[in-house]
Symmetry: C2
Subunit: 274 residues, 2 copies
């Protein structure tokens, strides 16, 4: 049984990803923050961890990029999950009975329009979507609702008051599978990679790197400059690329290694987009 | 007296930026969220607003990019503020007396290492750094501390228990000045611009745009792909460039307008970096 660290507790979106990615035969290490998640990997409480990295609405979860970089973690896979937010509470309550909703800031943000129509409800930030559902069930809290996936309502015996309350209906989150050791993905299944590099401030240096990628038939699916910690306003670039032939990627790798500073491959893995 | 909207209340970093940027002759519209800040501009409760956009540690504040884009706001200037976090409470209390610290999630994140050494302190998220300082003073709350700028301690009569508790000492935040109308910056003082555009998925299309920028002598200081809301995994690019001659920028603008889709200039302004 594989030990997998997730952010949040059972019933959370991270738990859903774990089930979909690995199947049922796993044991969960529930981590209440991404720091604890990384600590779980480093201290071998888990073999792999699932980490949200990017969302169609909120964009990149930037501190998680920093964690992967700082602790030299490897991305061995990715998974895209459509996000469904449901308002849930103890059974037999109506929306009028709810005075307070606790959830993760990201979930609250993604349901902003719904709550504009229900101004009597106070919004309170919490660390985890499902932990609130559990607390409502454990302490039999009336008048309080959680925003969480359907799985949480099933596990903790809550009723869904309103389903699909997210503002943008096609909301999806990209999760990555991370680990401390180098993943052993076969070259045949690898068609995506995440790279990190730095460039000097010379004009056109990024264009030059992107030209190499284009010449080597790599498709850029994501680019982001991030400030370098301890060196204000010097930037590192995080880039995701997809490709058809691993040899093309190897060629680009060899060239970029010479052109860029601090070049690092965060992961080579199978594209999770269908 | 110019009406300026800030995120947070007096004593906050936004307030410090307002004072440094405009001098003292302004009246503040204190907004408890960035949504309210934008609403203040749109409904003419303020003429200009100050909005944090990027931090050396946490990276871009992505939802703020989305707000500028969605409401077609214009960036008319920018200001870089070094961030100093101080732990403050009612006078005559020691660190041992403090059981709870409330602050903005970003401030808590940036002081993580400090609190690892003081594990008896419970960390609670709040919407604003200075609002907590005010609440401590108003309600004479003992045992609770705020993380806020020195200005907040001065205004609300709190004592600083520990100064400079941020993990990374050279932590700076980039603020932009935004408004609903087109700014009237003179061409002579403009040497920086923020652009937004979309590209089709053709390989090499971003490299082509960056080549134009490089050929026109623009320096890229920031790049970010952001998912397009309502169109999952189609990306818009947000790019900041600096230049010496406005004519160079005009030339690049004319070309990129043809190459890219949905090209938009978010602002042309004076570089705030010294």
């Amino acid at each position: 049984m594989k030990k997998i660290a997730i952010q949040g507790i059972q019933g959370s979106n991270h738990h859903i990803v774990a089930n979909n990615y690995y199947g049922a035969n796993i044991s969960l290490d529930e981590c209440l923050s991404f720091d604890v998640l990384v600590d779980s990997l480093i201290n071998s409480r888990s073999e792999q961890a699932i980490m949200a990295l990017e969302n169609t609405i909120a964009g990149s979860i930037i501190p998680n990029y920093a964690l992967i970089d700082k602790y030299n973690l490897h991305i061995s896979g990715e998974y895209y999950l459509p996000i469904h937010h449901h308002l849930m509470a103890l059974p037999n309550q109506q929306i009028e009975d709810i005075t307070e909703v606790c959830s993760h800031p990201m979930a609250l943000l993604q349901c902003k329009e719904f709550f504009k129509q229900h101004k009597h409800i106070k919004l309170v930030e919490d660390v985890d979507t499902s932990a609130v559902a559990k607390r409502i069930a454990d302490q039999q809290l009336k008048g309080i609702a959680a925003i969480a996936p359907k799985m949480a309502a099933d596990i903790f015996g809550l009723s869904i008051i309103e389903d699909e309350i997210q503002t943008i209906k096609n909301n999806a989150t990209r999760f990555v599978i991370i680990q401390t050791s180098h993943p052993e993905n076969g070259k045949n299944e690898i068609n995506k990679a995440s790279l990190r590099f730095e460039l000097d401030h010379k004009r056109g240096s990024l264009a030059a790197v992107l030209n190499v990628m284009s010449d080597c038939k790599l498709n850029l699916t994501k680019i982001q400059s991030l400030p370098k910690i301890e060196t204000p306003w010097k930037y590192a670039f995080f880039v995701d690329v997809t490709f058809e032939a691993y040899e093309d990627f190897e060629k680009a790798k060899a060239i970029i290694q010479i052109m860029a500073e601090e070049f690092k491959i965060l992961g080579e893995y199978k594209n999770g987009r269908l």
